[in-house]
Point group: C2
Chain length 253, copies 2
């Protein structure tokens, strides 16, 4: 086993056992090296990996913010993995888009089925208000658009899916933006997107899960079609046609 892996295992075990908690700090690099009987460079390699995994945040200086602080930031590592593997061309963008469609339609259905406090919807609402500004550039609009979609996926209450969705959006961002020139009429498109957003939010607020999911699916698919992007099949992110989705509820524990 390589020496830096000693540190990784040590940290993971300490986290699982509760000896390390969010907000806490790792021992200093020199101390850690001595404790494990390895050198500081080896420790540093491990800390870098942990940092890349979104588990620690390092800073110089002194005080509570300095050193290697334990955090829980799953979005950045997911985004990094996605970007790197997209760069290798072994991860088709179409698959990413398809996944996004699946997660987002699920999130909308889920969010609509939940009891949401007014405060939860407020964030999304404000984003839509800001998107009503007609002076926004396509880029500015798209940034808000992305935030809205991410906020929406957060309403489903699944932190893992929300994190994945966020990183998917980041990965797709540039891809979508580059396709804006393909749109025959940006202004007309923006008008359509705005009203679709409002309708989605209304369905979520009104507790209409299936309608919310359908609207989201149509919303995303519509845009990709208009921008002549990544063809993908029917259904919710799928190529399946049937969509009755009569779930076997009632069997809940």
């Amino acid at each position: 086993m390589k020496n830096y892996e000693l540190v990784l295992h040590r940290v993971e075990a300490d986290l699982a056992a509760g000896r390390l908690r969010i907000g806490g700090r790792l021992p200093g690099e020199r101390a850690l090296a001595e404790q494990l009987g390895i050198s500081r460079p080896s420790v540093r390699e491990a800390v870098r990996v942990l940092e890349a995994m979104g588990v620690v945040r390092t800073a110089t200086g002194s005080g509570p913010e300095a050193g290697a602080v334990i955090v829980a930031e799953p979005v950045s590592p997911l985004t990094a993995v996605l970007r790197l593997h997209l760069a290798t061309n072994h991860l088709p963008m179409g698959d990413v888009v398809q996944t996004r469609l699946l997660l987002e339609s699920w999130s909308a259905r889920e969010a609509a089925a939940r009891e949401l406090g007014a405060g939860e919807l407020k964030v999304a609402e404000e984003l839509l208000d800001r998107m009503d500004d007609a002076g926004l550039s396509p880029e500015e609009f798209h940034v808000l658009d992305a935030e809205f979609h991410v906020a929406l996926s957060g309403l489903a209450g699944n932190v893992l899916i929300a994190a994945v969705m966020t990183s998917l959006r980041s990965a797709i961002h540039g891809y979508v933006l580059a396709a804006v020139p393909n749109l025959p009429d940006w202004e007309a498109t923006a008008v359509g997107l705005r009203s679709e957003h409002r309708a989605i939010l209304a369905a979520v607020r009104g507790g209409e899960p299936e309608r919310a999911a359908e609207l989201v699916t149509a919303h995303i698919r519509g845009f990709y079609q208009a921008a002549q992007l990544a063809p993908f099949g029917g259904g919710e992110g799928g190529t399946a046609e049937a969509e009755d989705d009569d779930r076997a509820d009632d069997k809940v524990q």
Copy 2:
């Protein structure tokens, strides 16, 4: 910008531009250090991160397999991120299970809707045959079970979802195994699981998307219920039936 990030950006840019390809090799650490005007330890930190991201594989010695070889292994980084963040207790296991249910039911629907070659189904079929061995321990059975589910999700043809599914299974593995003693009758459970697997595969082969999805959902939910694990709601991985999942994620800090 930290020095090791120079290497990360350089590698990502080279990948995106096609200057680096899968199977190719990174320049030696010493050469890379000199090219970028930084030290070898800094380069090594970056290489470690790339390794953790599943983009390179390092080996000592000489020959084509030695050095830092470019690969595309998205499963291991995803698994690592998942495990570490589960260890922090800021990622509820219930969310992971819910996500698994969503991805797997989608995959089954998708796979059933696709035109599958006989060879694609063969792998899954052989796994089921091996699971028929009555002498298998719960652990051995579960390993094959996991392989079957992963193989199934691969049939949908989305590499991203397949990768995520694989890492989810890894993360869940120990969790599920620890719950086997909760089962009232392991042998009876195994018999049920076997027939459910056959039914799922038949639905996929027969091109019945909705049936395949329903069977998978029922299959997974049934097991979790029997093992008294992670309550999660109705629908395909959803809580659509609105039972507020109060996950025990608010422990630490």
